[in-house]
Amino acid sequence: MIIPIDLAPPPHRRPPQLAPVLAKLGSDEVVLIELQGWLDVVEGERQAGFIGTLLMENDKPVLKIGHHHLEGKLVSLSKPLAVLAHASAEDDQMDNTTMTRYDVVTLVKRKILFRNRPVPVVKRA
């Protein structure tokens, strides 16, 4: 079998452009954020749920999630990462077999790395 990986998919198969501020932290379409642990909601709905805030403080990326205050940094990737999005073949086949396909939506050369232990956010008095 052959699984095609399209290197230059048309815009409608790629994510929308990011705001310039964000594009500086990743590529034009994707930002990669590396975390210890993972993002989840314990209860309540995840659907389009609010997770936290990403902001720049003194030129460093900061993530505030619930009580956590994570300080990160922008890291260049030694080997760029191609971001592949899984897709099925469009119906240009006569038969109904769906073919697995991937699109390279972008090439990312840096990531935001949050390596430090989360620091609880303390309300200022």
């Binding site: 590396e34 993002l39 899984h86």
Partner: protein, 396 residues
């Protein structure tokens, strides 16, 4: 909090809407050369090829890479701008988490896995005598050479170049090289390996015809039409076969064939050595026969070194050799462990120069070869200072 207090440096991180597919994204680490390919737009597609049970490989137009999944200790969140279709106010201040991945895919250059061609195309060989059932002029009244041939032909699954692409883990360019290397003909769209004996016969005929017909000798180009016409008329070797053989042994430019005499002489030697499979000849006898077969003009090219990777000297070094044993690397296993087991069963000890020709299937280059030898063999040095490789007991 009112909108006016948000600054352009602050972004809301949100999960994607629930109808967005989960597990959709994969991260693929690209080596330098592939990065350039993607950015330059020189190629529009890579492909992952193989059977469902194979270890996956990724192929570009010309190279093959093994695909490996590396698990990370951290998680990488893949985030994008929101979908404009589901736009909210201040949409540009949102960052949507599309996926979270804990694995990265790595690419490692690998030798293309062409050995399967052999298995797939078994039973499709083109041999002397097949000319009749492939020539399009049959009216159905022609007598079959062999009544069973019909039955065999019917049962023979037919493969085209396209139909093998998904089966063979190699790039298109490496696959083309493979067809050339394994002497696979394209007869009316179907892949037919040319039988070695017929190939040897055709080559010997070509080499003698060049002289007997007064055709130009290398390095001068040979007119193809004159050559193939002669082969067809005098030797019943069909043009559709001979025309495909010429580019395997030289360069074809229009009606000109710039022959590579070394390649042709080598193949004749190889074809002849195969006939001695069960009866090793003396070196002298074999070389004599080989020289006679290629004729005086080309006899000086004959050299045992041309057959490297296909023979062993008997007795083994350091004893003076007297006989040649047919030992093709193409018949050896392609996984390192099995290969080294076989090699050390054949001879308990090897010199580097003698074992190297048999490591092609598992080592991309000399560096890889050395690594494998370190892993699968033990080195010993003899009294004369020669280095020998022997089996490591542990891996057996």
């Amino acid at each position: 909090m009112s909108a006016s207090t948000k600054t352009t440096n602050e972004f809301q991180l949100r999960f994607a809407p629930s109808d967005a597919p989960q597990g959709k994204y994969k991260l693929l680490e690209l080596p330098q050369e592939l990065c350039k390919v993607v950015e330059s737009g020189l190629e529009t597609q890579f492909t992952i090829r193989g059977r469902p049970n194979d270890d996956a490989v990724l192929c570009t137009a010309s190279r093959t890479y093994a695909l490996r999944a590396v698990t990370l200790s951290n998680t990488i969140v893949v985030a994008t701008a929101p979908d404009p279709a589901t736009s909210n106010d201040d949409e540009t201040l949102e960052l949507i988490v599309q996926d979270q991945v804990s694995q990265i895919l790595e690419l490692v250059p690998t030798v293309p896995k062409l050995h399967r061609l052999d298995t797939i195309l078994k039973g499709c060989e083109y041999d002397e005598g097949h000319e009749r059932d492939d020539e399009g002029g049959g009216t159905g009244d022609e007598m079959e050479l062999d009544p069973d041939e019909d039955l065999r032909a019917g049962k023979r699954a037919k493969f085209t170049k396209d139909s093998v692409r998904g089966e063979i883990q190699a790039s298109d360019e490496e696959l083309s090289q493979g067809f050339k290397q394994f002497h696979i003909l394209d007869i009316e769209g179907h892949l037919r390996p040319l039988s070695p004996s017929f190939l040897t016969q055709i080559l010997e005929t070509i080499l003698t015809a060049l002289v007997s017909q007064g055709l130009p000798l290398p390095p001068n180009p040979v007119p193809i039409d004159r050559l193939t016409h002669h082969l067809d008329l005098e030797h019943e070797m069909p043009r559709l076969v001979t025309e495909q053989i010429l580019p395997w042994f030289g360069v074809v430019n229009g009606n000109n064939w710039e022959m590579d005499p070394t390649a042709a002489v080598k193949q004749v030697g190889l074809g002849r050595l195969m006939t001695y499979k069960n009866d090793p000849p003396t070196i002298e006898h074999f070389l004599d026969q080989w020289r006679t077969a290629v004729g005086d003009v080309f006899a000086s090219i004959v050299d045992i070194a041309l057959l490297e990777g296909n023979y062993l000297l008997s007795p083994a070094p350091p004893t003076q050799a007297t006989h040649l044993v047919y030992f093709p690397s193409s018949a050896l296993p392609i996984t390192a462990t099995a290969l080294f087991t076989d090699l050390f069963l054949t001879r308990p000890r090897w010199r580097a120069v003698d074992i190297a020709p048999f490591l092609g299937a598992v080592a991309v280059d000399k560096k890889e070869q050395e690594k494998l030898l370190m892993k699968y063999a033990r080195t010993t040095t003899d009294a004369a200072g020669g280095v020998w490789y022997t089996a490591r007991a542990t891996h057996v």
